[in-house]
Symmetry: C2
Amino acid sequence: VAPAVGRQIPAAAPDERRGTGSAPSRVRVAYQGEPGAYSEAAALGHFGDVRPRGYPTFRDVAERVASGEAERGVLPIENSLAGSILQVYDLLQEFESLHIVGEIRLRVSHHLIGHPGAKLQEVRRVLAHFQAAAQCRRLLEAHPEWTVEPSYDTAGSVKLAKERGRRDEAAIASARAAEVYGMAVLAEAVEDDPQNYTRFVVVSREPRADGRGTKTSLLYTTRNEPGALCATLQVFSKRGLNLARIESRPIAGRPWEYRFYVDVEGRVGSVRLDSALAELRGLVEQLRLLGCYPGA
Amino acid sequence: VAPAVGRQIPAAAPDERRGTGSAPSRVRVAYQGEPGAYSEAAALGHFGDVRPRGYPTFRDVAERVASGEAERGVLPIENSLAGSILQVYDLLQEFESLHIVGEIRLRVSHHLIGHPGAKLQEVRRVLAHFQAAAQCRRLLEAHPEWTVEPSYDTAGSVKLAKERGRRDEAAIASARAAEVYGMAVLAEAVEDDPQNYTRFVVVSREPRADGRGTKTSLLYTTRNEPGALCATLQVFSKRGLNLARIESRPIAGRPWEYRFYVDVEGRVGSVRLDSALAELRGLVEQLRLLGCYPGA
């Protein structure tokens, strides 16, 4: 069986679906949001028919996995239009017991969703998640007559618009969210660019041990001296190991110092990556292996 | 007179205050937010008594400066707890006529602001700007009985709480915002860490030409090949030029490719920086000099 984790919404991921002999009441997969959320779609596509359960916040998802209440968590980490989801980067640092065991790429298409029978011209208020608003800036800018109301969830904003029952209100979310809540699509594919993908990480309390990883995620702080960051990156480039991503986040209490998140195309257990890690250890203040997993 | 731009809220910035012979009706300094916003405090501290004018969005500020309607714009670009303000990075890329001519660091202390006479125990709903919420996570997590309502402006959320007149509502903002709107501080200094600073950039249609810069901001895209980013950073490290900051943002339509924002401690016109720029030009796809200015 081919490893499913490397494909873009694989039909099934056998090695992931086998389960770990847990009681039936245990949550298989936790995600943030209401039914119809993009995270739910990512979880369904990756794990198959496991009834993922939604939680209000990213932190809730991290906590459930860290406590063992949920086996896996699916967290969005980056969107190809709006960029990094900084809060998820911070949670990976905070929850030291979490490991990245997989990666999912999901094509994201947003729609303007309103009440059945309502017309686009009637809309005066749009409920929009921050990330969704950032990915649909052109639409929102083309309608200065709309008031944009920030929300914390795409599908949740459709649910809220439904509950409020005002024909002049709409929300930005997936077509599936419209279905789930019995609402209508007023405008289709309203994202700024059709090349709109969100990348999710799958987290678990146990690191992946099947040796199938192709991508390795690291978290480290450099010594506070000139050239320190560059020296750490050279460790990889001189071995021909490509960096897929570099992200930095501030360190609380140490203004203008940063922790770096680096994704390297390489496998823990291979000579090249292991020797790079050994050299890196001598250059950095703190180093954590976040996980080695099949890159999507 | 010492250059004022390098200090942390200087009393006056003579070279910046001289003006450019504009009509009296022209806006001297534009910022995002309502009176009492941190951006207003940054503008007042940097420029002195120039009556900065607030606009609803960061984009409004960029547009006013690009059109010449405002002489300078003050935009927050990074907070030492919450990290980069990604939207401002994107505006610097989009508005090619803007130049960074200065930098401001402001100590930010948040307070929970409610109605005069209201008690902390009465609070049930808190209006919080995304950034402010991110900087006061511990307070919000310690009060699960509060509903957090997202808002787009700190001082604006105090204004809104005032207008609504509900004793069980409060907002997170500056002490000055409480004063401006006749509201009361219910809890002081509620940020997660006292080392909380926001860094602002000052933008203008004209680059700085006084040769007083100490910091240079660059924007570039690398060729899509292994080691490309690392090669660009080595250009600086091998000349002993320190990187103050590196940030990356996605390129629309090219998923998983990035543009890089790099702040270098060095001056345009110096032999070291100019030779680094010459070498860099040969390595990158596109290179834009965002500005050279006195680092704060």
